[in-house]
Structure formats: C-alpha cells, structure tokens
Point group: C2
Chain length 149, copies 2
Amino acid sequence: MNTLSIGQLARACGLGIETIRFYEREGLLPPPQRTAAGYRKFSTDSVQRLNFIRRAKEVGFTLDEIRELLALHDDPHGERTRVKALTEAKLAQIERKILDLSRMRDVLAHLATECSGVGPVSSCPIIQALEQPPLTHQQTSQDSDEQHD
Amino acid sequence: MNTLSIGQLARACGLGIETIRFYEREGLLPPPQRTAAGYRKFSTDSVQRLNFIRRAKEVGFTLDEIRELLALHDDPHGERTRVKALTEAKLAQIERKILDLSRMRDVLAHLATECSGVGPVSSCPIIQALEQPPLTHQQTSQDSDEQHD
DNA sequence: CTTGACTCTGTACAAGACTACAGGGTTTAT
DNA sequence: ATAAACCCTGTAGTCTTGTACAGAGTCAAG
C-alpha cells in the first residue's frame, strides 16, 4: 500500500504532525482518506503538495496566497494569468520591502560609522540622531504591504 | 503649566492614546505624574521620548531593543559601546534580511519571465517550478533573525 | 444640571503560522 | 496482557505591536 500515516508524511517532508493537521484545517491539503479507526491515510502525492507549499513559502508567499495557488493548480480550468499576476504582485511587494530595508541599512550604517563606541551615552551621536524629530513621516512597506491586485 | 494630557501628547506626536498607554505598560515611557483624579500629566520631554521611539522603529529596532536603548539613554553611566553594538547587530540583521529577500526576488523575477501568462495552469512553468522538491533547505533569516549579541 | 469630550482600568481581539497540551482511542511488539 | 508509540479531536497559547471596547469617573461649557 502506498499510503502514509501522518507521522510518516511528517518525517518525509521534515514537518511537524501538528503543522500538517494545521494545513489541512486551513484548506491547503484536501481532507485525506481515513482508516476504520479514523486515522488519516495520505496518498504519496501529499509529499509533493507539501513540497509545493514549502517552496512557495520560501519565495515569500503567505499561506493565503499559497491556498489560492493550490486552488488554481487543482482547477482544470485554472487561469495561468492569475498565477502570473500573483507572482508579479509578490515580486513587487518584495522589491518594496527591499527598498525599505535598504533605506534602514543606509541610516544604520551611517550611524554606526559616526559613533566611536567609546564614552558615555549622553554624547553618543547615535542617540543624538534618534532624538531628532522624524523629518518626514515616510511610509514604510509595513503600511503598504497589502497586495493591490 | 507645561504638562500635557495624554490626548494632547498623542496629538503632538501623531500617535494614538492607546499606543502611549501601551508604551508605558511596556516600560518605554516612565510612569507619568498624575492629577488628583488620576489623569496622566506628561512633561513636554515625553514628546522627545516618543520621537526617539518612532525614529528607532523607523530604522528597524523592535520595542525590546528600543527599551534597552532608552535605558542606556537614561543611565548616566550608560556605555556607548552597547549602543554601537546594538546598532551594528541591527545593521547586520537587516543586511541578512535584504540578502534573503534578494534571493526570493531573483527566483520570482525568473519565474515571472518564464511564464507567458496565457493558457491552463497545468502547464504553467511557475506551478511546475514550485512542484519541484526544495533543493537544499536553505535557512531564511526568519530562522536566524534572533540577535546573537 | 446636563451634555459632550475627555480620561481611567481591565480585558479581549487582530494577524500569521504555527505549537502545545489534555484526555482519550489504536496498533504493535513483547 | 501490558507497555510504548502512535493517532484522534478540540482548545488554548505563542510572538509582536498595537486597537478596540466596556463600564466607570471627571471636567468644562452652556
């Protein structure tokens, strides 16, 4: 028989049992077959599905987005346009986030070079810089993180 | 009198009243004076302190870290070394995060160009790529985000 | 004196992605 | 027959940074 218990599946994918049940509850995995005693019986396809989820997470998709990708994947009439749109939206979002972080990095790098690291905090240029009122309230991508698509 | 009610302070800093109370609970603001009726009376210094918090958040510090920066700021014997160390650790962390995101961006950009956006999902190169098992399980900075300092 | 604006405390909720029980039933090996 | 290892459901907790009440008290203006 080529079915897996939840524990076997978990080991095969390097995930926790609880995580798999969580994905099932969240609609990422279809409800599996059950044994007479109520134990889950996963087909070996489930390994691939969990790999899909993991890969998608690695490139930055949220579980909500992955649910939609999987639904497209499962739908014989699924539109490839939508997959591409999701990918491009995610790409744009990640690029925004990189820009935000780059700005932070520049400020921090500047602060780090300003400060000798010796002496009392009272005259520390880092602390002094932070005491200044924010010049402009720039929007961070925390604020604009939502997907507009 | 140069004291502020919580509402006045909130307006002066562009924060919500609840946020200020939250910061007080979290130990970022010292417990303010109170009126006879129990209303908070903030000194005008509080405006600067809240600006400090906001600036520090803008460059990526967490509230935990900001609490420590403020404690150093408040301590007449505070060591500037520590401020610099926190800054450099944050800088390194942000650089790691940028690298992670850059890897994701590269993969997504590649996927987006691969896919024509036309046709059924079944033959979509994005979906096919996601179906592949993860090559190496690379650590993302989600995992290594904690500060080692 | 009443209305409206303000403040107080304490608690609960939000998102996202899990993780951890508690209290049972099942299977397998000895 | 019994212990170990596995599985079930359902609920609750974790982390972070706030937000949102509910129910009550206070203050200023008309």
